[in-house]
Amino acid sequence: MPRVKVPRKSTLIDMTAMCDVAFLLLTFFILTAKTKTEEKIPVDPPFSTAEKTVPDEDIATLVIGQGKVFYGVAGFETRKQTLIEMGTLYHINFTPAEQERFAVTNSFGVPMNQLQTYLDLDGAENVKKFPQSGIPQDSTGQSPSELYNWIHTSRVVTKNIHAKEMRVTIKGDAKEEYPTIKKVIDILQKQKVNRFSLITNIKGK
């Protein structure tokens, strides 16, 4: 008896279409990618219905959480100039290597007297481990606080480089107590920054 032969079907599938789709998605994600900026402290902004987007340039962000304030300015050139100006203000000479390092630091929370140590650190692991106590917000005697000087200096630098007013945004943790926020707002108001943005997560009405 002749045996009935079951025709073997090939298990190979045409992958071309799948490959196309995969790469299309890949291209899309690469182009829209904006890597998550690493936060030194976990901050969960409150929700609101505001729909304005935050610009990328000429902007400074104050991250507030756990009673600490972190500060960051956008733009490499602005950062570098700000550091140099702050150096002259506090009589610290920053080396070119430190300036480069500062130019790629998104946000930091180190007092002025520790800043050089922080910028001289080697390796990402060490930078992560460095205890950042936040930028001091209290003024000592007659001189204004360090936070005040940072904001003021970067405003001047932004104005000089881009001829534009720097925008200040506040990214605060929802659970942060109001006195901390108020302190920062008071520092801003002291230099007549009466207009600023609060970063929020979006929610429905």
């Binding site: 190979l12 992958m15 071309t16 799948m18 490959c19 995969a22 790469f23 998605l25 890949l26 994600f29 690469i30 829209t32 990618a33 904006k34 890597t35 998550k36 902004p45 409150p46 929700f47 609101s48 219905t49 505001a50 729909e51 304005k52 987007t53 935050v54 507030i64 945004t169 990214k171 605060g172 943790d173 929802a174 659970k175 942060e176 107590e177 109001y178 006195p179 926020i181 108020k182 707002i185 108001q189 002291k190 007549k192 009466n194 207009r195 600023f196 943005s197 609060l198 970063i199 929020t200 997560n201 979006i202 009405k205």
Partner: protein, 178 residues
Amino acid sequence: MAELDTSSGGSKKGHKVRSKKASTRVDLTAMVDLAFLLVTFFMLTTTLSKPKAMDLIMPDKDDIKKDELPVPASRTMTILLGSGNRVEWWVGEAGKSTPTLEGFGKNEIRKSILANKEKIEAASGKDMIVIIKPSAKSVYSNMVNMLDEMNITGVERYAIVDMTADEISELKKENIYN
């Protein structure tokens, strides 16, 4: 070199040399694997939605004394932000009308704001003024929520003002200052 050309031996009997047709199909499985791996990676590391911002304009501190307009008490609603996501509000002068204790949300403070707005607009023909006073025991999200309520209810005249000692004791009495 001669010894390399031994593969097919097609030229022996005068036939034409015919190169073997290789299949144009390539196994794409590995490539697809890689592509999806990268897609997953980028999906997880990107923040698709940009953060949204809410603009806040504070009154100029120095100008307050120069051109201070008397705020008509009849058109003013004062909202105190206490602890535990509770608020206390009253319309008019402090102590003259009974304050109301409420929480945040659609059916609580928003309803009161809308009701007061309507009442004041009908009575005076002018818009309502809201004074927000966050206490030291309130949290940041309370303030943002309140500003958000202003946007939602369409109150255009509002300000964030510091709290006075009287108001703190008022909050203490209601047990929302701890």
